[in-house]
């Protein structure tokens, strides 16, 4: 129950973050168009902020998409057979954990390596550009724990 509630909270936080960040992305790129085409005074920072928001939205959105089952899969096996379903459930889970760990551990390593360089136009560390990669790994691990619980408890039942 606690795990499900934790996942519900995380999903709700991600949804709020998603719409606010997407709205900010629209405003940022809108400003860029306005500045370049109407004011004829390019705002360089808008490009960097847009890229920053884009990266956060992709990785956290991909994390959220794991819970909604939105990631692409190909059905080549007869999924109506319980054994096949259980097997693909397990392989999906293991592969998910491995990917999430790579993103969490190596993503954090990359963010730390890049932290020395700044994003010139906004004066912040590039660490913030790479941070969503390990965060995505952490979110995925949380949702994978819920998937694992559902998979094994249902099988036991």
């Amino acid at each position: 129950m606690l795990l499900h509630r934790l996942c519900d909270w995380m999903a709700a936080i991600l949804r709020v973050f998603a719409w606010i960040a997407f709205a900010a992305l629209i405003v940022t790129v809108g400003l860029q168009v306005l500045a370049r085409n109407i004011l004829h005074e390019p705002m360089i920072w808008t490009g960097d902020i847009a890229q920053l928001l884009f990266t956060w939205l992709i990785f956290l959105g991909a994390g959220a998409g794991l819970r909604t089952g939105s990631h692409y899969t190909v059905d080549l096996l007869p999924m109506h057979r319980p054994l096949v379903k259980a097997f693909t459930g397990c392989t999906g889970l293991i592969s998910g954990v491995l990917v999430a760990l790579i993103m969490l551990v190596n993503g954090w390593e990359l963010a730390v390596i890049r932290s020395a360089a700044p994003i010139q136009s906004v004066g912040i560390s590039r660490f913030w550009m790479y941070l969503p990669i390990p965060l995505c790994g952490a979110v995925m691990l949380l949702f994978l724990a819920e998937i694992a619980k559902d998979l094994f408890i249902r099988r036991d039942a």
């Binding site: 709205a23 790129v29 939205l57 959105g61 959220a64 990631h71 692409y72 190909v74 059905d75």
Partner: protein, 433 residues
């Protein structure tokens, strides 16, 4: 074992056992990176590099545009325009289906969004009017793939961004073949309508036709904003996309008032999932594509093909066959990214113009959205239509053949693709071919 073989084999084994495509790309790449004694941090580094492109920012905006069109009354208005324009021809609803997909394609660029929105209205209507359910499903799914060919196409954006080809020229190059595929589909529908006596809707009369055209005119400004802005050199594709989103939001919030402000958070957060998943796959394909290039796959394939033939047409026909196979198991975005170095290398070997090559490979890969097992448009349409999947696949086969036919015709007659760019944006066409 050769690392390239390990890479491809492990990837296909993983997707065969139903691992997410994005995860399969990352894991098979990580495996080869470990075998090559490279640091694992290069996996995440290349994933980031895969999405670090301002041009790709157009993708979320076109995805959001699809959501806005579906949430408000814009899709219904477009259906009214299509019904007024072509509904009275024999097989009327079939023509409306193709026509509205052509128009929708020029607005959103997402084939699955088109299948869901147009299909939910037209498939039940076609079944009620006496069309066989598998045909209604197949036509809806196949015509939705026009969204991949007719600009603004997300696949063309990805191709241009990663292949270093002008997206504006690719967009303009997709117009004629896209319309041609649509017209062929309408011709096929007409032939079936005559043979099986499918009905036509009554002609609404000039006054009503004029009224629905006026009602549909504001959303039809969207392709003019996007394509017109790009051709005139006013907009980049990303800027055109944001212009289209703002115009569609303005229409839906203030003019038609069919979307409420309080609905925007859900609309936006749903759109984030819509684009985050394909972009995550793009990130995964970033590392996979980098390894394909690093391991020299392009040269190996080119040498192999040149060992078989050095005839440009035969090379291209082999490539089309390969892409049709690839499209069956991969979505067009992943397929484009993974095999881009090979597509471009073979295109260069065959003496193809890069714009010609980009549009031709996109036309070919679009077929995979209907063919099993990854025929996402057919699966979505079949879900709506409740037909037997096997019968829907059979009904879709001749319609897919029409798309392939247009691909082959544009291989033989390059001006089907290059004619319009030569006329409108000659400065964006690179030499070659």
């Amino acid at each position: 074992m050769n690392p390239l073989v390990v890479l491809l084999l492990s990837f296909f084994v993983l997707i065969a056992i139903r691992v997410n495509i994005g995860f399969a790309l990352i894991l098979s790449s990580a495996f080869v990176i470990l075998l090559q004694d490279l640091p694992l941090v290069s996996v995440v580094n290349q994933m980031f590099a895969g999405i670090d492109s301002f041009t790709l920012l157009a993708v979320p905006f076109f995805m959001l545009l699809g959501r806005i069109l579906n949430a408000g009354s814009i899709t219904t208005r477009l259906l009214e325009v299509a019904d007024g324009a072509v509904g009275h021809i024999r097989g009327g609803l079939g023509h409306v289906n193709v026509f509205v997909s052509m128009v929708f394609a020029s607005l959103s660029g997402s084939a699955a969004a088109d299948t869901a929105s147009v299909g939910s209205i037209l498939i039940p209507a076609m079944k009620k009017a006496g069309y066989p359910a598998p045909f209604a499903v197949a036509l809806t799914a196949a015509s939705s793939t026009l969204g991949v060919i007719i600009p603004p196409s997300i696949i063309l954006i990805v191709y241009g961004a990663f292949g270093n080809v002008s997206i504006g020229a690719l967009f303009v190059g997709g117009v004629v073949p896209g319309i041609l595929v649509g017209l062929f589909m309408m011709l096929y529908t007409y032939i079936l309508a005559v043979r099986y006596d499918f009905p036509a809707n009554p002609f609404p009369g000039m006054r009503k036709l004029a009224r629905v055209l006026v009602r549909g005119a504001p959303p039809l400004m969207i392709p003019i904003i996007v394509l017109g802005g790009i051709i005139a050199g006013l907009f980049t594709p990303t800027e055109g996309a944001i212009g289209a989103v703002l115009w569609a939001l303005f229409l839906s919030l203030f003019i038609y008032r069919d979307i409420k402000f309080r609905e925007l958070p859900k609309l936006f957060s749903d759109a984030v999932i819509d684009f985050a998943i394909p972009m995550f796959t793009v990130a995964g394909a970033g590392i996979f594509g980098w390894l394909i290039a690093y391991l020299g796959a392009s040269q190996i394939v080119v040498n192999f093909i040149l060992g078989v033939t050095d005839n440009g047409y035969l090379i291209m026909i082999l490539l089309i066959g390969f892409l049709l196979l690839v499209g069956m198991v991969l979505n067009p975005i992943s397929a484009t990214l993974i095999f881009l170095p090979i597509i471009q290398a073979l295109g260069d070997t065959a003496g193809m113009n890069p714009i010609h090559m980009g549009v031709l490979s996109t036309i070919t890969l679009s077929v995979g959205l209907v063919t099993p097992p990854y025929g996402i448009c057919l699966l979505v349409a079949n879900q709506i239509g409740g037909a037997s999947l096997g019968r829907s696949m059979l009904a879709a086969a001749p319609i897919c053949a029409l798309t392939i036919l247009v691909g082959l015709l544009s291989l033989l007659f390059p001006d089907i693709i290059l004619g319009l760019p030569k006329l409108l944006v000659p400065e964006l066409i690179p030499s070659g071919g």
